[in-house]
């Protein structure tokens, strides 16, 4: 690791950052026509265009860098810890473009396993030890408040110019905000969606009751009505929250006390249990499914309806998907006159408290969340952008038609409770919800138990 005392001292000044990202953005966006063709393996464009694209990105970066980058970010090696990006050249291109624009800064990737629990554990271990060898972390939306409260990541308000801030969906930035300050920038977002077989169901259901009726009509042996994530883990909490929110409920009230055992919670959990045991439109196996297993059922053509995140779309449209071309995407259904509510997910870039190169680290965060970089990820890997402008970009929309649905959902996207104690809250809910699904307890008792335990375990704000 190259440590330059000089840069370490200078970088803490946010002064030199302000101008360039604002000015740099149009240059970056302007360069993108060079990089138009998607490079996903299944529609790989000509090589020449690929080369042009890299040149375009580098030019964009150089333009951005030349406007404001002083010598501050020089002679540093910065490490980004993130889950393994797909087998596509996009990530390498993006990092190479960054290095080209910042002479003397080298970027290393520390690739993490896909399991978010494992990432959380590993990140916590490093951060507790004050490990300076990772500068930038790609973190789950539900960890931002926790990491911020622990003092492990830096507030970005001094770096983040108002014009840059305005590029993002405000709803996404709100989920990054702890005690009034942004602590991360969203790199890709995710939102809960309803996938449905448009060859069977011409129009998506507007309410959960309609979904039940349609599922009952179409399901038969080998074709389940609705698959979701029912294993005892975070995904089960997400599914429950979406039903809860659709009924106007919430986990905590405004004073931070448990509120999930009210009528909305009871109705939501009863509905979830009924999907398996009364309506019988969800196969009993959903209590063992995470995202991957449930998606597999849908891809095999074994389910009419499926709840998953937005990233599942690129899987649905892959060559080896049995339902390719037969799937529609819609907002999750609503209930009782309310619209549905998909949970907000996604991955976000944060600067470590312990970095020796905060300036260079911020620049990397800034670049990877820029319009040019997100556009490449959306075209090449189907990652869901977090900038509003990209939802008006014809080519991005052509490659990711479900963005048209997301465009209407993201402004009102709902984060899971933004609390430093969210993982604790979720851990408690996981056990009680799973018990209700397995019918070892009633929904009433499960919710009452969860509420009592939440009130004991969570400190009041």
């Amino acid at each position: 690791m190259v440590v330059n005392g000089n840069s370490a001292r200078r970088v803490s000044s946010p002064r030199m950052v302000r101008g360039d990202d604002v000015a740099g953005r149009p240059a970056a966006m302007g360069a993108s026509p060079n990089g138009n063709r998607s490079s996903a393996q299944d529609r790989a464009g000509p090589r020449r265009l690929g080369a042009l694209r890299v040149v375009g990105l580098r030019l964009a970066m150089l333009a951005a860098a030349s406007l404001g980058a002083g010598p501050a970010a020089r002679a540093a090696e910065i490490t980004i810890a993130q889950f393994r990006q797909r087998e596509s050249p996009v990530e390498r291109e993006l990092l190479a473009a960054f290095e080209a624009a910042h002479p003397g800064v080298r970027v290393r990737q520390r690739e993490m396993p896909a399991s978010s629990d494992v990432q959380h554990q590993q990140f916590v271990t490093w951060l507790v030890a004050g490990d300076p060898s990772v500068d930038v972390y790609l973190i789950d939306v539900i960890w931002v408040a926790e990491f911020a409260a622990a003092g492990w990541i830096r507030p970005l308000d001094a770096f983040l110019a108002p014009a840059r801030r305005a590029e993002f969906f405000p709803s996404l930035l709100r989920a990054m905000t702890y005690e009034g300050k942004p602590f991360a920038l969203p790199r890709f977002t995710e939102n809960g969606l309803l996938y449905y077989r448009k060859d069977l169901v011409p129009a998506p259901p507007a309410t959960w009751d309609e979904l039940v009726a349609l599922a009952k009509r179409h399901q038969r042996p080998g074709l389940a009505g609705f698959v979701f994530q029912g294993l005892q883990y975070e995904g089960l909490v997400v599914n429950f929250l979406e039903h809860l929110w659709a009924r106007g409920g919430d986990v905590l009230d405004e004073r931070g006390r448990a509120a999930l055992h009210g009528p909305a919670g009871l109705s939501a959990l009863t509905f979830l249990v009924d999907l398996l045991h009364t309506h019988r439109i969800s196969p009993p196996g959903v209590t063992t499914y995470m995202e991957r297993e449930s998606l597999q059922e849908f891809l095999e053509g074994r389910a009419v309806f499926h709840r998953n995140w937005a990233y599942a779309w690129s899987q649905v449209e892959r060559q080896d998907s049995k339902v390719r071309g037969r799937v529609g995407v819609a907002p999750l259904p609503g209930a009782g006159g309310r619209p549905g509510a998909g949970a907000l997910g996604g991955w976000n870039l944060a600067v470590s408290r312990f970095t020796r190169h905060p300036e260079a680290a911020w620049r990397l965060v800034d670049w990877l969340t820029s319009g040019a970089a997100q556009r490449r990820k959306a075209l090449g890997e189907g990652r869901i952008p977090t900038l509003r402008a990209l939802y008006a970009d014809a080519e991005v929309l052509r490659a990711n038609p479900h963005l048209a649905v997301l465009r209407t959902l993201l402004p009102a996207a709902r984060p899971r409770p933004v609390s430093p104690f969210y993982p604790r809250l979720s851990g408690i809910l996981q056990g009680y919800l799973s018990r209700a699904l397995a019918r070892t307890t009633t929904p009433q008792d499960a919710l009452a138990g969860a509420a009592a335990e939440l009130d004991r375990a969570l400190p009041r704000p």
């Binding site: 959380h120 409260a149 005892q232 196996g285 063992t288 604790r424 699904l437």
Partner: protein, 300 residues
Amino acid sequence: MSLARRAAGPAALLLLAPAVALVAALLLVPLAEALRLSLYRVWLQAPAERAFVGLENYLALFAASRFWNALRVTLLFVAVSVVLELVLGLGLALLLHRRFRGRGAARAACLVPWALPTVVSALMWGWIFHDRYGIANRLLLDLGLLDAPLVWLGAPATALGAAIVADVWKATPYVALILLAGLQGIGEEVWEAARLDGATGLSLLARVILPLLRPALGVALLFRALDAFRVFDLIYVLTRGGPGGATETLALLTYQTLFQDLDFGRGSALSVLMFAVNFALSLVLLRLLFGRGEAGRVAR
């Protein structure tokens, strides 16, 4: 200690020092640190909340049904899986002790489950118990033992059983290996004497083999019980402690408390309790197996 001093004085202490230092650094210091942390409120996501709270973490655990559930699940897992492993391991060892063609290959082959990483075998068992693709349901349906496929890992009644089966499959060869070594330690003259006295079958097993195998059985029992008590990876991969905590062991609960909840005070209290239960368990086992004297010596 007094013996050492009497025998050789300071020189002996000096020679002992490296070993003592190593044990202290690797075992006693972490243990003391866990003990100390368990008396504090340590929430990593709220550093300002850090405070000495005495026994609060322990009292909160004792008041939580989740802790007692995890303890019950863990002890059940240990008891059932270790008993099955000993019985099956003994059978396997007796088979492998006989002379037959290909015995070497058979001995090597039966070590495969033990040699596989637990995560790999857990994933494999996850597929075996899969409700639709799994071979467990296929076999039982074909044999007419089931009317409809079971969701083995998704139902509280079967999830722990499935995990136990996976553990028994993996650890039985290990037990068999230890017992085989014990069998081979029984001298030829003993077998001969037993034969002359007319001991065969069950009486040979009950009156000759088992008594002589007692040390090996004891070692196998102790190792397996202590190991099974800490079970984590198998269950994490198979069920994550679900459904509804039906397979949540103490190790899983500790992991959740430490690394998901970031509650290091409560998590340390759990670790200390796990240590205490495990220590007591091994003392009881030692005493049962080797009598009072041996257990006392090991404990000291």
